[in-house]
Amino acid sequence: MIQVENLRKEFGTKTAVDGVSFSVQKGEVLGFLGPNGAGKSTTMRMVTGYFRPTSGQIRVGGVDMLENPEEAKRSIGYLPENAPLYSDMTVGSFLGFCAELRGLRGAARDKAIDRVLETCFLESVRNQSVDTLSKGYKHRTCFAQSIIHDPDVLILDEPTDGLDPNQKHEVRNLIKRMGENKAIVFSTHILEEVEAACSRAIIIDRGKVVADGTPAELKQRGNAVVRVVIKGAAGGSIRAEIEKINGVHQIEPGLSSDEQFSGRVLVTKGRKSADIAREIFGLASGQKWQLEELHQDEGKLDEIFRSITRSDTAV
């Protein structure tokens, strides 16, 4: 449904998006991950036809966005970042306005409004002014706008931003449910959301795609981790012993002292964290150290995220 090829966007001399390609089929939910300023919103604005790309190709539902924007926009529902709304309208009239611009008139329009009010749990605020809504309701109102014409393609820019945990959960479930018969792209910087809702994820950093795969595939790109706390010797010497174990990739020390070592042991790719944990256990009992904590983690998305992206605050 969505095909994006070699998308580039320059603002002056700054390249915000640099050769991004991806495609999304019906029934797929694509998670768009990346630190702030990575170019997620800019990419989405180009796909929805708001920004004109510096170069590249966008096809939505088989229609070229650059050649035939009005037609291509028809099949897209879009939730912009920060969920903008006309502050002087009521929820009902706002949705009515959006429905009309989508070509829904008369009874079809009223039916569409009723449907999205129900889907997004907005019936109680139908006649309330948008201005007086709480943030969660505002967000859901803008979300409702994006599905008013039951589009084949949904583009959601940080759909769970600023919601409380219950609302986040609801929105995630909604995305997952709708993803069964739509092509959905949503951006986030919350990694658990990707695991919860996405069938595939793209990590983008400084305008470039740095990883692309299912959440499970992405996890395998990272190192498994064994967290340990060991007492009974100087931290430095415990660390030195652990480093000698075959299959230990790297050690990130935590709080260590003269009689304790604590830290995270990164496992070499391809080795199982369980094996390393067993070896550490053996080492500790051989040395008569007290093993206070031994915990294995599979590769975590945020580890991978951290290891392959650099936030804009980093030097």
């Binding site: 920004f51 926009k73 502050s87």
Partner: protein, 252 residues
């Protein structure tokens, strides 16, 4: 223009006009306009003393000065507010042409002025009560006045596309409208002609010809010249065109 275009324009127009209607803007502007236009007419225009029962000198004469301030006050929210709220991103990703939105919004602001102008009817009734005026000049006066308002509005529409701040839009629009008015003011033109070398007279007169005032003045005297109407229509078209270009450049 097919029916889909008309419906898109109508939807945008309706929303925008309701925004005026549901906010104090419409009422405040209309009331101030009525007070100012009638006030000027009676206080400075010596409306009651002038014995020729016409509205040209006393009533329409003051309208440009009122529009200079009030038209930007009506138009400043057109695109600035849209950019401040971020709703422009919604509007521009809808399956409509940007021109639908530009025209729909402009029409809503234009309707505000139509209402304001129509509500000045008591003064027309008064002239008819006091004497038997020529109908022609009154009609052309109203047309000229309305076109003037729309000219200022189209300037404001263009300026509002450049900024997300209504205040900035208001100040810049007022300045541009003053400029476009003053460069055609007979006294000012004469002053320039006198103080500049004679060889530049043609240039000065040409610049004066481009001003709102030049065209307004002729029409408000009752000379309905197609050329002047065309002039204002071109100004409006240019203003809306510039609005479109500014919006497009922001998305480029």
């Amino acid at each position: 223009m097919n029916s889909k275009d008309i419906q898109s324009i109508w939807s945008v127009f309706k929303r925008e006009f309701l925004a005026y209607f549901n906010s104090p803007v419409l009422y405040v502007i209309v009331v101030i306009f009525l007070l100012a236009s009638q006030g000027f007419a009676f206080l400075f225009g010596r409306f009651l003393e002038s014995d020729n029962a016409s509205l040209t000198q006393s009533f329409f004469f003051w309208h440009p000065w009122i529009y200079i301030v009030l038209a930007p006050a009506v138009g400043m929210r057109l695109w600035s507010e849209e950019q401040r709220l971020g709703t422009i991103e919604l509007l521009m990703t809808m399956p409509i042409s940007p021109w639908h939105a530009i025209i729909g919004k402009f029409k809503a602001a234009a309707l505000v002025w139509l209402i304001a102008l129509l509500l000045t009817f008591p003064i027309v009734l008064t002239v008819f009560y006091l004497g038997s005026p020529d109908r022609g000049p009154i009609l052309t006066g109203y047309i000229a006045s309305y076109l003037y308002a729309l000219g200022c509005l189209s300037v404001t529409s263009a300026v509002s596309a450049f900024t997300r701040s209504q205040v900035v839009c208001f100040i810049v629009s007022v300045a541009v409208c003053i400029l476009l008015t003053l460069i055609g003011y007979p006294g000012i033109i004469d002053w320039f002609v006198k103080s500049l070398p004679a060889s530049l007279e043609g240039g000065v007169r040409f610049v004066g010809y481009l001003s709102f005032m030049d065209h307004f003045y002729e029409m408000s005297k009752g000379v309905f010249v197609f050329r002047d109407v065309l002039y204002f229509l071109s100004v409006i078209a240019a203003g809306l065109m510039l609005t479109g270009l500014a919006l497009r450049s922001k998305r480029a």
